[in-house]
Symmetry: C2
Subunit: 414 residues, 2 copies
Amino acid sequence: MTAHTIDVDAAVVEDHVMRLARHGAWGETGVWRTVYSPEWVAAQDEVAEWFDAAGFEVWRDAVGNVWGRIEGADGSPGSIATGSHIDSQTPGGRYDGALGVISGYLAVKSLVEQHGRPQRTLEVVSMCEEESSRFAATNFWGSRGIAGMIKPHEPDELISYDGQRMSDIMRELGLDPARIPEAKRDDINAWVELHIEQGPLLETAGRPVAVVDAITGIRHYEVTITGRSDHAGARPIDDRRDPMHGAAEIISRVIDTALEMGRPAVTTVGRMQVDPNFPAIVPRSVTFTIDARHPDPDARNALYRRHEATLEEVCTRRGLDLSVKINTDHPPCLSNPDLVRTFQEAARAEDIPFETMPSGAAHDTQRIVNVAPVVMLFVQSKDGRSHTPEEYSYPEHMAEGVRLLAAGLHRLAY
Amino acid sequence: MTAHTIDVDAAVVEDHVMRLARHGAWGETGVWRTVYSPEWVAAQDEVAEWFDAAGFEVWRDAVGNVWGRIEGADGSPGSIATGSHIDSQTPGGRYDGALGVISGYLAVKSLVEQHGRPQRTLEVVSMCEEESSRFAATNFWGSRGIAGMIKPHEPDELISYDGQRMSDIMRELGLDPARIPEAKRDDINAWVELHIEQGPLLETAGRPVAVVDAITGIRHYEVTITGRSDHAGARPIDDRRDPMHGAAEIISRVIDTALEMGRPAVTTVGRMQVDPNFPAIVPRSVTFTIDARHPDPDARNALYRRHEATLEEVCTRRGLDLSVKINTDHPPCLSNPDLVRTFQEAARAEDIPFETMPSGAAHDTQRIVNVAPVVMLFVQSKDGRSHTPEEYSYPEHMAEGVRLLAAGLHRLAY
């Protein structure tokens, strides 16, 4: 018999998921909850009520992150913190982000109920924004606030997809953009974020949870290939500078490159715009994105070098003009080895089957790593789906996630 | 010494091009003149004035085509007709369409001035619409009116890009949509349309003009490939059903197929839409067009069979769902061999260097072939450009076109 640090009722976890999902409910199973929207305010208010009812000290920081705190008995400085983001894709599902807030709340609440006051301070945070679903470039507003990475000019420059200014939106909610630097924390001794996997690996492996040892490095290229627009009938096929023909070869080859390198390399071309985009006109230019990821720093560089060589080679050979911008470039975020070990040992002690794996998705944690040692936990996603109303995690898997989170926090704070 | 049927001053031709180009002038050298717009009304009014001043009998038919007529002396039924369209791309250039109207006017005016009244009736027409630049599906409104191909429901169903109904627009100009059938002609004994080439072949060959022996067959496929949308980071590269990867292979291969078949086969992918079109999401579906053309009926069928086999093979192998619609399917339009011979002989007699070639572009003539024997003439396009303000034809080449048109009409009508 293994000892359980805490007991968790899977139905209680699912009930909390459903309660948060009412705020911005979209269709049968979706959620549409963008940062600072009325639905978002209602969700953060409900989280604050949960924290308050559980006896946490509650406050909101300068970007609207909601914090709950249980002061440690030993009076030592700093805290052990957990949490995730409360906003969603448009539409997203019920689990992405929200499950990390709920799991943190239930884990800390259960620890206090079942083990009393911790030695070291525990904190849970419901972060305001991660998805960039209202503004293109918020770029993890909540965790950038915590890490002190929001620049003073940003609130006046960020414009939402529907044309509103970030600073105006914040002021309407009583948040003063000038005070954003006050959200910065430099007293977090350990950070752990629980999140759904968003991929199929845990389902394939038959494991409910994972300890995440790295978050992948991500680079987004924006590639524009320019040729010569021509009449689709009158310009002979052998006398064209057709950027679509070049783009098709490049797209085939960069995805093939990731296939050749194998897991965990991934390359995605998710966005394309054609100018002028008429059936009977050879395009003047084709613009597309290349999203390429690898959690290993050396392999990542090799992947990027091969992609860049493909772009150059194809465009030179075909006489096409090439323009490449790098819009996003996150280095891999490595988890703290001690924290990885702590949660691996906790899983073994609790008899929770787990994987150790990198995250192919980006997360708030890769901002918080700038101010604290970090680790992440994953909970299995059914069919590997996320960023869709169809995303789903089984209650028993979520409960195992809460148990593992609590067991690790217990090792760190008690 | 060869005898010139008529003398043509290149400066006069160019002057008429510039005069028409004022109506809807766009930027330095462009024209933006959509059907039934104020600019279009002004252009048709000017053409009607030219016709009237030259002693042509002028009238406007039920779709707004402006006709000018010189009654033949022998009283035989029917007429020899020439002309082209007055509308433009948005923006287009000064020559596409307009040059055929101007050349018809100058050729018939010069014939009457220099040779007197013809035996058979001559007509010149400035057709209202060919470019589909105001409505997506007018589909050659002017020549479909002449061929009696406009269906009764169309004027109420066609909606312009800016949301206006065709029937309302026509009524505002005093055109009664119910009378469109009256525009049909069944008394045209021969039709010839002069047009710019829109491609580079005459320039490469160093010839000012061509006699067109066929208009290419055109098929527009609208292809939708559906896979599974996935997170760009969390779904392993080898476990995707990525429609972009399949589309890229297909686009490469269909264009390669046209290259292998060689001239005059052409295949163009000019339009693509990606769903949902985000950099970090593997697309759910990719929709693109394939425009494939060949003037030879057998080669055309072979081209289409190879494209369709590629679509099937790639999607089956990759486990992608394939949906194919054929939005446009014009068979090749063959010129009347007697008319081709008449214009070839006229060119030789006039000592005008010419090519005999198919048209890779679509033209009004492929509608008029339903009610009359047809032929077309091309005038060289500088750099093969068209559908752009940069299109240009040299005055001396245009003058050779007018001379050839007049010489052929002389053989047919005198």
